[in-house]
Symmetry: C2
Subunit: 166 residues, 2 copies
DNA sequence: TATTGTTATACTCTATAACTATA
DNA sequence: TATAGTTATAGAGTATAACAATA
């Protein structure tokens, strides 16, 4: 119950204390937010994402073209529905992604001979070259965040995050 | 260099081994993805977000109406630009959020008497009631993820995530 | 019937740029 | 000049639903 009523009471109290003046920026009360997994996940991801998208056009790992190319490079002939499953997005969302990759010349759809419903995805030499470049930039960018963690801390962060995955 | 070439070589090898047949779902090679902070952050957040948005309409903590109401409850008279700073989004993105909150009757804009450029934001009794309900649902939903962590693990996860914040 | 891919559509979140009113 | 808020616009990213081709 404390959890639920806390901010409400704080609000009522602050209301009496602050009938209209400006609030200084460092006295802002974040309430329950800092204790929520969702809030902290989102803040962290936004920070990393902004840094990545400055360093790498389309460089959000796991969404966007980067994750797709990694999967095609490691699993030639992977189907779109498998991409969807492993990037945890809908198969319909994969279509536009693959379209982009194909238009850019980084991958190809090839109708699978053994099951003509399936499109096998194959990375091209241009795709591999592009991916290698993206990986370099990605590594450099992630490296700038490594300073925040001791090596075993970084690993534990990854381990804990992976438990949340479906 | 291993880092960069790893998946490329794996790709070339797999290409020889797999000239067109289906790949089984559990032999998919995720390449460098599992070692990337960005990929793991995104997967974890997607998983949590999907769970939350089933339990709570508009319930992504920190984005959306929830974070806004928490800030208004704890800091009556907070300005929109302060909301933007603490939710780490642009001031332009705050406008639509506050519009929604005002239309729903959960908060009010009040022109600040000491600086007529500023809109102070104030939560309404209806907003407080709604927020209390959202917090209950949020707690229940986050609680279902707590099973994944020992108490000190959860705390360390939060601590590590907070280091990434700008 | 079930699966793979596709199209069409819409919604949320965020950003940028240009504007206003106030300071 | 600078700041707070607004408007207009655009771009990701994702989802759902309905559909075609194939199994």
């Amino acid at each position: 119950m404390d959890y639920v009523m806390g901010a409400v009471n704080a609000g009522a109290m602050a209301d009496l204390e602050n009938p209209g003046g400006a609030l200084s920026d460092d006295q802002i009360d974040l309430g329950v937010l800092p204790d929520l997994l969702g809030y902290n996940l989102r803040s962290a991801q936004l920070a990393l994402q902004r840094s990545l998208s400055k360093a790498i056009p389309g460089g959000d790992p796991g969404s966007g073209i980067f994750g797709l190319l990694v999967l095609c490079a490691g699993n030639p002939g992977i189907s779109q529905i498998q991409v969807a499953r492993h990037l945890t997005i809908d198969k319909a969302s994969v279509v536009a992604l693959v379209d982009r990759g194909e238009e850019s010349g980084w991958l190809q759809r090839r109708r699978a001979p053994d099951d003509r419903r399936r499109h096998g995805l194959f990375i091209t030499p241009e795709g591999n070259a592009h991916l290698a470049q993206m990986k370099l930039r990605m590594r450099n960018c992630e490296h700038s965040f490594d300073a925040l963690f001791a090596p075993e801390e970084r690993q534990q962060l990854l381990t804990l995050l992976q438990r949340i995955r479906p």
